[in-house]
Symmetry: C2
Subunit: 205 residues, 2 copies
């Protein structure tokens, strides 16, 4: 069991570190919600942030049970029979309640990680947050203690009687690709694309 759990935990961490967007589920007045939100992991903690006034932050800061799920789509799985069409994916789910960050130092660490998640090396390029900005943002933390992963990979699984059918079967791989960076129309003239952004976009053609 411990070995199996450790292995699953490593998969969960890898999925979190690749996915940018999570869906965070919580219940408010009996209605469940799944809210898309950026997430960033540091060690055994996953952070999400938002406006202090949002329903998500208010509900979760009060200790409501939550579920954070991230899903990476890896491919279309095209089987010989309609009933076996599928997708390859990697999904991670974290259950628990969230903790609202109070310490400015932990908030700063989380914000650094959010920026570095988008583009590694970007934190050093931008103006750091002021004390006022830090106060204005609400950051929630969830522990990875209760987490699980679900993965589907590989070719389609058709029923044996369907194998001889004259139907192409296989997988179409999918990936998130980056296009050419577009400068802000208000960018001052003469500012070249930053090294961090150039590197990031080049690695995801």
């Amino acid at each position: 069991m411990p070995a199996r759990a450790r292995y699953e935990r490593e998969i969960v961490e890898a999925i979190l570190d690749e996915a940018l967007v999570a869906h965070l589920a919580f219940t408010h007045d009996g209605q469940p919600y799944a809210i898309p939100t950026l997430q960033a992991r540091v060690g055994d903690t996953v952070y999400v942030h938002g406006s202090a006034a949002s329903r998500m932050i208010r509900t979760l800061a009060a200790g409501a049970p939550a579920c954070l799920t991230v899903t990476l789509l890896d491919g279309l799985v095209l089987a010989r029979s309609a009933a076996h069409q599928s997708v390859n994916y990697r999904s991670a789910m974290i259950l628990g309640s969230a903790r609202l960050l109070e310490a400015e130092s932990e908030k700063l660490l989380a914000l650094e990680r959010f920026t570095e998640r988008l583009v590694p090396g970007r934190w050093a390029e931008v103006r750091p947050p002021t004390a006022k900005e830090l106060k204005g943002v609400s950051v929630l933390a969830m522990s990875l203690q209760e987490c699980s992963a679900k993965v589907r990979s590989g070719p389609p699984l058709d029923d044996p009687p369907d194998m001889p059918l004259e139907v192409w079967a296989g997988v179409v791989p999918l990936r998130l690709a980056a296009g050419t960076p577009r400068p802000d129309p208000q960018l001052r003239e003469g500012i070249a694309l930053s090294p961090a952004v150039r590197r990031w976009a080049r690695e995801r053609p």
Copy 2:
């Protein structure tokens, strides 16, 4: 109000028709869950399917309140200041309860749409589901009656005092790209890539 609602509904439908994976939120024994699932829209109904034994299908078939959310990631928004880093995205959310399909004809329609969602034209290429397969799959339907969209697009929004900073700012567009289709290792020799799959992959390089 009606014009605004109609416009929002059109955006929701376009987002659903582009996204393959939804996150479906529901509560079971006081614990909220967000479960990744394929979704397919037909008119004002969005379908999800799964195994009859799954917690998601059992809970939702019993009429529990639900929230189906899909999110498309369109780009990294790289601002001059750390606090304004963001992403461009389009997200749609549907609230309500789900209805378990009983009629074989509606199940068949939903399965056709699931296959056509993955690759248009694929339904005509594969073996159609048998009556037994149709009985074995559980399909849930949610009405689009209560839906909303949330969209962020365009360049970063920096604070005016930050505009003169010597920092590159802009957007890196993101899209889901298809790789080269990989035939099933067990594919019979001499079966060429199907026209529907070739067309689909060619349109998403």
